[in-house]
Symmetry: C2
Subunit: 209 residues, 2 copies
């Protein structure tokens, strides 16, 4: 029997969408654009960094804004419970420097994500650590002898959810539910924990059989 390790997405699953929160708290509507509005991620990021520049906002300003963003109601208790029972690693396409203030509030879980290039407090560029890092991380943990259960909410989570032994969608948009009918959908943290646990128990039972 392999030990279980759970991989979770961050934004939309444990905390609000970071750029939306920054847009709300700074009042800068242009920061509300997402990949739904601008399909080219690099173009979207360049736009965001230009907007921050135009408003004279550096990394410290954004981190201060993010420090005021709270985890979703119930997220900390859900995560604490999971971490007391098995290893949990967050897999996110956000940046280390944005995740930091949120991780402090969540009790410093391990998070694998990307990073910003910062010079004298100015966000100059960003570095994607790896293409498809969520899926690659699941495969890496499987290669280290773990069975992986995973939870996420959006398109960029589906490769991770499908690569995992157990994958669960948490509060996904309807388009993702339609595109991936094989993935179970939950909307509360109680259901989420139970779906992960039950999925693991079924997998273990099938492995024993």
């Amino acid at each position: 029997m392999k030990p279980w390790l759970t991989c979770l997405d961050l934004e939309g699953v444990l905390v609000p969408e970071v750029w939306i929160a920054v847009a709300e708290r700074t009042g800068i509507d242009e920061l509300r654009l997402t990949t739904r509005d601008v399909a080219d991620y690099a173009a979207l990021m360049r736009h965001r960094l230009q907007v921050l520049d135009a408003h004279g906002l550096g990394l410290a300003d954004i981190q201060a804004v993010i420090a005021g963003v709270e985890p979703l109601p119930g997220a900390k208790a859900f995560l604490d419970d999971l971490r007391a029972r098995r290893q949990v690693v967050l897999l996110s396409d956000t940046f280390e420097q944005f995740a930091g203030p949120l991780m402090a509030q969540l009790g410093r879980p391990t998070i694998l994500c990307h990073s910003l290039v910062v010079e004298n407090g100015h966000i100059r560029d960003w570095r994607m650590r790896l293409p498809e890092q969520k899926r690659a991380s699941v495969l890496a943990f499987q290669g280290l002898g773990y069975a992986v259960s995973a939870g996420g909410d959006s398109y960029n989570d589906t490769a991770m959810l499908l690569a995992a032994e157990v994958g669960v969608l948490f509060r996904p948009p309807a388009s993702v539910v339609e595109a991936f009918p094989q993935l179970p959908v939950v909307t509360t943290y109680d259901e989420f924990a139970r779906a992960l646990d039950d999925g693991q128990a079924r997998w273990d039972a099938a492995s024993r059989a």
Copy 2:
């Protein structure tokens, strides 16, 4: 520039040796035997489980003992500081079930280790998740786009320390120092943090050059 992730051994680095602590707190001297006394690890583990059985000790008893074992003085502050600055993953050859009570005291860092086979509270067997799991984990994180700095104290850490971009020995026995003269040696947590940070800075500088 790659982001840094730090891998740390647990026993002897952040907490006392678990079996020694169990031997001391239970007064069962036979549990003091280590791989220095019995070279065959499987034989040693079978002996330990037999001794626990003979004393009527189940998993809950051992976990209660381990819950009373405190991290080494200064270990929590050292680990908290590291975790606030970069991702940290503990790599240990102990068992999930033994690590649990210690992880609670250390603020639940992620730990990759082995597991016990427990039936009705009785420790029946153990499962090594992977041979050479410490080295394999370092290679896996490097494969995920990280540069790895690592710290450990004994022979079973040296493959991890040598595979990492930066490896540091913390309070090692003289035999390990002699066998691995290429690895820097530190004895306080301040020196430990500095050796990891300085090693990373030197590596980054060399990468830029």
